[in-house]
């Protein structure tokens, strides 16, 4: 077991999968020189044919990934969430709908790696946390890892999956560190984490926090602070939003009776909204207090740090929310 940086875990997953399978290739903007850090060394090892710098043409290369996948390749596309808007037609009309619309005649093993840069003064055009909008669209698998180990294991699973997967990579976590198991210590010699299995980061009996992506460290910090006060809080990271491990969430709420959901996305129709709705429908009789969502305010991301810091879930907001359920 070694401690690794989040962005290096992405790189490890890409390198391992590209070595393993020649049909895996990666394209995106400025990836040869690894401007964003995840594609370091790929060009040297895999060459120009499998590491492609694209023109600024998201519609063309998001769609080209679909076409390449349809004829047997396994494309990985690097992008930022904020550039996905430019390619929405290809993501929705082709990537998401194609398999079903054509009666399952084709598999589309495409991974879109969409980085969410927020919290660093990037303002409204470069701070999108857009996974809930894609959760609403059938046909896409949605992954939002919060630790280097999850990042690596889920990325490898995504690349091997025969369906379209969007990896929402949380930029606020890129410099974070965490233990990643060494391959030689793993039973099958590699780290693969299945979709649809939540991770319980803290076990507890008084309240449940379901936290997503960059909110997970804040939730864990809140739980640890509450533990010092004698309040036992369970922290669950769903890791994949589609499919969602609702059984783990419902089982936890059955145990604790209280639910707070921390979600960096905008609060209206967020992942938190969907989880709250599931628990209200299927776990209502377990609840001893109203569900509380701690999600981003329903405003655009302002530039000034004085304002931006007010938008997202924080440890303090999560603490206040948990306390409100216990009052």
């Amino acid at each position: 077991m070694a401690e690794k940086i989040f962005i290096n875990a992405i790189n490890e997953a890409l390198v391992e999968e590209m070595r393993r399978d020649e049909s895996v290739f990666i394209m995106g903007e400025d990836i040869k020189r690894s401007v964003y850090g995840a594609t370091m060394g790929l060009l040297d090892e895999f060459g120009e044919k499998r590491v492609l710098d694209t023109p600024l043409s998201e519609n063309a290369f998001f769609g080209a990934a679909v076409g390449a996948a349809a004829v047997g390749m396994r494309p990985v596309v690097e992008t930022l969430t904020s550039f996905m808007w430019v390619a929405m037609d290809q993501l929705v009309s082709q990537a998401a709908k194609m398999r079903y619309m054509f009666g399952g005649q084709v598999n589309l093993p495409v991974v879109y790696r969409a980085t969410m840069y927020y919290g660093g003064g990037s303002a409204a055009h470069h701070s999108d946390r857009s996974y809930p909008m894609f959760m609403n669209m059938p046909g896409l698998k949605i992954v939002a890892p919060s630790s280097p180990a999850d990042m690596k294991g889920l990325m490898k699973t995504a690349i091997r999956d025969d369906d379209v997967v969007i990896m929402f990579e949380d930029g606020t976590l890129f410099g974070s560190r965490g233990e990643v198991p060494d391959n030689e210590d793993l039973p099958n010699g590699e780290l693969l984490i299945p979709f649809g299995q939540a991770n319980t980061l803290r076990e507890g009996t008084d309240a449940t926090i379901v936290a997503i992506a960059g909110s997970v460290p804040h939730a864990v910090a809140a739980a640890d602070e509450l533990a010092a006060e004698g309040v036992s809080v369970e922290v669950i990271d769903p890791r994949t939003l589609v499919p969602l491990d609702k059984a783990s969430i419902l089982a936890s709420v059955e145990k604790t009776g209280r639910l707070v959901i921390a979600d960096p996305a905008h609060k209206v129709c967020s992942a938190a909204s969907e989880i709250a709705s599931i628990v209200a429908e299927e776990g209502f009789w377990s609840l001893q207090a109203p569900i509380v969502k701690v999600a981003s305010e329903q405003v655009h991301i302002p530039y000034s740090p004085a304002l931006e810091k007010l938008v997202y879930p924080t440890k303090e907001k999560i603490l206040a929310a948990v306390r409100s359920t216990l009052a």
């Binding site: 499998r50 769609g63 054509f102």
Partner: protein, 329 residues
């Protein structure tokens, strides 16, 4: 280009197949046998048939909303095409796609897109795969004069040219996007003029002449297979029917005249081809008529097959979403 009789007769057969198929579609649609939208390809048959008969089975094509003709031109089974239109389990897409997604992947179709211009990047991706794999197949995409204005089209042409991808961009310019003339929306005289901006050959072809289309696309394919990159081939053609069944008869006088339609019908692609076959002594008119009658029977059988195919069971609603299925939420 010297063409043997088999190829010339195959062209005629496939054009008649599309013509009879579409005539039958219009007939059964008007009787309420299926619903939604359907966009007849009548009048434009030479574009798809000329292009597809220049391809190998291992080559790929992608189509658009007006795409009943493309799978049939590439050798798709008309029985399964008709079953798809009627929403039956034996359709290409098990009844999940319908008229605008009449795709037979078994003959190298990459899909048809109801969103115009949207299949152009997808076809470009198949060509990218050919280049990465080092294989010799090519990809082609059919789009209209209207879709030629989509950003996806322009982005794809630039990308394909920069990467020298083996793809043929085939603009079937039927001159109207629903009711809007391309002369009012395209910045150049011909769509094919745009090729120069993307540093690729652009040719304007008589889209009513199946042999001319075949020859132009053959040249482009040869270039693509040689690794020299993409081409833009524009077939100037004409849509006899209105934009879509189900829209009613758009008051055509307001955007095109009966005289204009009559003039173009004189340049019918099947008439032109049959005339050539007869005049050059390649086939008699009787042979052509017999072929047409034979194909008409094939379409009747397709309709019979489709009518006898069951509708999908309710369980099918949740099938085909994913290769590795996940629980419904």
């Amino acid at each position: 280009m010297a063409m043997d009789k088999d190829l010339l007769m195959l062209m005629l057969r496939r054009m008649w197949l599309i013509r009879h198929f579409e005539t039958t579609v219009i007939d059964i649609y008007s009787k309420g046998e299926f619903g939604g939208a359907a966009h007849p390809y009548i009048g434009e048959e030479a574009v798809a048939v000329g292009a597809c008969t220049a391809m190998k089975d291992t080559d790929y094509i992608a189509g658009n909303h007006r795409s009943h003709g493309h799978p049939l031109a590439k050798g798709g089974d008309p029985k399964r095409a008709m079953a798809e239109l009627l929403g039956r389990v034996d359709g290409y897409c098990k009844g999940k796609g319908g008229s605008m997604h009449l795709a037979d992947f078994s003959v190298g179709i990459l899909g048809e897109s109801g969103i115009l211009g949207s299949s152009v990047p997808v076809a470009t991706g198949a060509a990218l795969a050919a280049k990465i794999k080092g294989e010799n197949f090519i990809s082609a995409v059919f789009f209209g004069d209207g879709a030629s204005n989509q950003g996806a089209c322009h982005e794809s042409m630039n990308l394909a040219s920069v990467w020298k991808l083996p793809i043929i961009f085939i603009c079937e310019n039927n001159q109207y996007a629903v009711t809007t003339s391309y002369r009012d929306t395209v910045s150049v005289e011909h769509v094919s003029d745009r090729a120069s901006a993307y540093n690729m050959p652009g040719v304007l072809v008589d889209g009513q002449d199946v042999v001319a289309m075949h020859e132009a696309v053959s040249v482009a394919i040869e270039r693509a297979r040689a690794g020299e990159g993409p081409s833009l081939v524009e077939g100037l053609t004409y849509r006899y029917e209105e934009h879509s069944l189900g829209l009613g008869r758009v008051r055509r006088g307001e955007y095109r005249s009966e005289d204009e339609i009559a003039e173009w019908r004189k340049r019918d692609p099947i008439l032109i081809h049959e005339k050539r076959l007869v005049e050059q002594g390649i086939a008699s008119q009787d042979e052509c008529d017999a072929l047409s009658a034979d194909v008409a029977r094939e379409v009747e059988e397709a309709l019979e097959f489709a009518r006898n195919s069951p509708f999908p069971e309710p369980e099918a609603l949740f099938e085909d979403m994913f290769a590795n299925p996940i629980p419904q939420p």
